[in-house]
């Protein structure tokens, strides 16, 4: 069979003649499969890789909140309201001796001029920090009853608040970890709805066009022409106040996805419009491929990576949206905790001045949002593995 290519009649075009069309140089690019090229592209973006690792850690910590948080989210101590962050020490400030990690408990004292509760360290009492300490019982992953915490005060009577406490003396650090469960999962679930709704509607409207496309595009334009935050607020306010917190949570997820799907759907539509005019789609059509087959074999694999990038970049938007709503008091409701809800403590300027540690949840929002943006950047490089 090889003679077909080798011998046969020879044509000459413009007098040029060459024996091989295979290039001798088979560089690395040509040796790698599409998946390998994509992975290589991603690994080259250091910030994206770092962000990915950071996000994995953050998600693991919140997933196992009971273990990583020294206290539960509702565990209060009325003697330590608005206690400032307690320093973890290795060195005794007076003697200069080094010890294993320890802290000095805080004692509140009313300042009779300002009537503020002021805290001072009780230097006489050095309380070691214990790892894998037994403490408040919790349900790990929601099912396994356990009471071991990663770290905590070795003395149950003396509480350790490494990021301070709130108005009811609840440990802020523990509440941030539990709050992450809500804030971070809202991002994921919101984006899952966004992907499901946005990509299906976008694909259909791009593939079939016509009246359906026209109607969908006008609806999207209408939704997008409202300012985002007020629209969210209006929709969130429509969630009935008598609903249990879990329902409210689901309601908030839907409200956030309500705007996000429009962006993704436009992205999907644009991709389909461009992909369906590719010759490989024409080739499949000329062979009699069904629409379902074209969508499954040609459109989805070529769209998937773009959709993932858009979705990744929509996660921080959703996280910020939830935080904004909860901060304003119309998002998730207590006893649920979220980062936005925790920031609600800092809603008064007086609180920021007196208890600046109530801003800590904002730091976590910042880190998560930045990490997602870098991750999205890295994934965008990955989408086009063929560029060098």
């Amino acid at each position: 069979m090889n003679k077909l290519a080798g011998n046969g009649r020879r044509f000459r075009l413009f007098g040029l003649r060459k024996k091989h069309d295979e290039r001798d140089v088979q560089d690395e690019y040509q040796l790698l499969t599409v998946r390998q090229l994509m992975i290589r592209k991603f690994l080259r973006n250091r910030m994206a890789l770092l962000s990915f690792i950071a996000l994995v850690i953050i998600y693991l910590v919140t997933l196992l909140a009971g273990f990583f948080a020294p206290y539960t989210a509702r565990d209060a101590d009325s003697k330590l309201t608005y206690s400032p962050p307690m320093a973890i020490r290795l060195q005794d400030p007076e003697t200069g001796h080094f010890h294993l990690p320890f802290f000095y408990p805080l004692r509140g004292k009313r300042n009779m001029e300002t009537f503020q509760l002021e805290y001072v360290e009780e230097r006489a009492k050095r309380i070691p920090i214990q790892f894998f300490v037994r403490g408040e019982p919790y349900l790990a992953l929601g099912v396994i009853a356990w009471d071991v915490h990663l770290f905590g005060s070795s003395d149950p009577a003396e509480r350790l608040h490494i990021m301070g406490s709130d108005v009811r003396g609840r440990d802020l650090f523990s509440r941030i970890i539990y709050g992450g469960q809500v804030s971070l999962s809202v991002g994921i679930f919101g984006v899952l709805i966004t992907i499901a709704v946005g990509s299906v509607i976008g694909t259909l409207s791009g593939y079939y066009g016509g009246v359906f496309d026209n109607v969908v595009q006008r609806v999207i334009e209408t939704i997008r022409s409202f300012p985002q935050l007020p629209l969210w607020m209006a929709l969130a306010a429509a969630i009935p106040p008598q609903w249990p917190p879990e329902w409210v949570y689901a309601g908030i997820v839907v409200v956030l996805a309500f705007i996000n799907w429009t962006g993704l759907s436009r992205e999907a539509r644009g991709l389909v419009l461009s992909l369906k005019e590719r010759d490989y789609v024409h080739a499949a059509e000329a062979s009699g491929a069904s629409t379902a087959r074209i969508v499954r074999v040609h459109l989805i694999p070529n769209m998937a990576s773009h959709i993932i990038v858009t979705a990744t970049l929509a996660v921080p938007v959703t996280i910020l949206g939830e935080s904004a709503l909860s901060f304003l008091g119309i998002g998730v409701r207590p006893p649920m905790v979220s980062w936005g809800l925790l920031l609600n403590d800092a809603i008064k300027i007086q609180n920021i001045v007196l208890y600046p540690w109530t801003l800590f949840p904002g730091l976590f929002i910042l880190v998560a949002v930045i990490a997602y943006n870098f991750l999205g950047d890295g994934l965008r490089d990955m989408v086009d593995p063929f560029s060098r």
Partner: protein
């Protein structure tokens, strides 16, 4: 069909008065404000086993005709009778389901192998796709068939698991050829299959197509914008301009005795190189007019150096020359003006002597 419309037994495809007008929509309510007359009343026959070259500038409608034949487009009007085992079938009218068996017999080879191969699929899956669509054979049989095809088109069976980006341009087009041939079509529409390739690779792909034609008894409709490529592969050539046929003739006659001024202009655009020979050339000026408002009369009159008044008012029909029924031409002046050939008979002899 009625017996009075009998078609020669060696005709595999007969096209009659094919038109494809794309509506132009504008405004808020998407009202149709006009039509792009991409193909405007074209009739021709394709004979089994031949290669029919289809030549014209960009925008002449040659690709549109190809896409009508494989029914990527549904013609506005016209008849396309295709010979199946059960006789002639008008494929212009069939719906999606009825077309399915016909699609096994007509395949298309695309211009740019970079865009005609899905970059996310492996070569083996790309070639097997038509087999897959028509549910031919078991998975193992398909694999054997694809490996055979890979060998056949001059790639090795080891290419099965490669991705398109791992191949060179010529290799990619060979994959395209293998895919088009995988379900054993009888008619292949080659849409400028070599114009995206390096010149050095073009000849190899043309060789391959010609070898496969001999071996498998294929019929080609070979679309090109360049007469020099068509010269080597075609038995007959059709010259198109602005959605209409200008001239149909055996390839050799096109080069030795063009009868339409547009054919002459196309020939003039090929650099001539016969033992260093050089000649003065009349080069076609301007661009092809808009197919939305084609010129009146003969569509070519706006650029024709021989045009007379009759050309502006009356559309010349495509008709055979009185002294040569193999050649048909749509020109009022076909018998009046003598056009410059590309080769004289003497030059042809010299060239063939050189080639031998």
């Amino acid at each position: 069909m009625t017996p009075t419309e009998a078609v020669g037994a060696d005709v595999i495809l007969e096209v009659r008065d094919l038109r494809l007008h794309f509506p132009i929509k504008a405004g808020l309510l998407k009202k149709t404000v006009g039509y792009v007359k991409a193909v405007d009343g074209v009739s021709f026959s394709v004979y089994a086993g031949e290669t029919l070259g289809l030549v014209g500038e960009s925008g002449s409608g040659k690709t549109t005709i190809g896409r009508c034949i494989v029914r990527l487009y549904k013609p506005t009007t016209g008849i396309m009778r295709f010979r199946t085992k059960a006789g002639l079938v008008n494929i212009a009218e069939l719906d999606k389901r009825e077309l399915q068996p016909i699609r096994r017999d007509i395949q298309m080879l695309f211009q740019d192998p970079n865009s005609s191969l899905n970059a996310r699929m492996r070569v083996g899956d790309i070639i097997a796709e038509p087999l897959d669509i028509h549910a031919i054979g078991t998975a193992a049989e398909r694999r054997t068939r694809v490996e055979d095809l890979l060998e056949h088109v001059g790639l090795g069976a080891e290419m099965y698991n490669r991705f398109p980006h791992q191949l060179s341009g010529g290799q990619r087009q060979r994959v395209g050829v293998a895919r088009a041939l995988s379900i054993e079509p009888r008619l292949v529409i080659c849409d400028e299959p070599v114009s995206a390739l390096d010149v050095s690779v073009q000849a190899q792909v043309l060789n391959l197509l010609s070898d496969l034609q001999e071996e498998l008894g294929l019929t080609y409709v070979f679309i090109a914008h360049d007469l020099s490529v068509v010269e080597y592969i075609s038995d007959r050539v059709m010259v198109m301009y602005l959605g209409k046929l200008m001239e149909t003739a055996p390839t050799r006659k096109i080069f030795e005795r063009p009868t339409h001024p547009y054919t002459e202009a196309l020939l003039n655009s090929i650099p001539k190189r016969i033992r260093g020979g050089h000649r003065k050339r009349y080069v076609l000026a301007g661009d092809i007019p808009s197919p939305v408002n084609p010129p009146s009369g003969c569509v070519f009159h706006t650029r024709c150096q021989y045009a007379k008044d009759i050309c502006k008012t009356e559309t010349p029909p495509l008709q055979p020359l009185p002294d040569d029924p193999e050649t048909s031409v749509a020109c009022h002046l076909a018998e009046e003006v003598t056009l410059q050939p590309y080769y004289t008979a003497e030059e042809r002899r010299v060239l063939e002597a050189d080639r031998a």
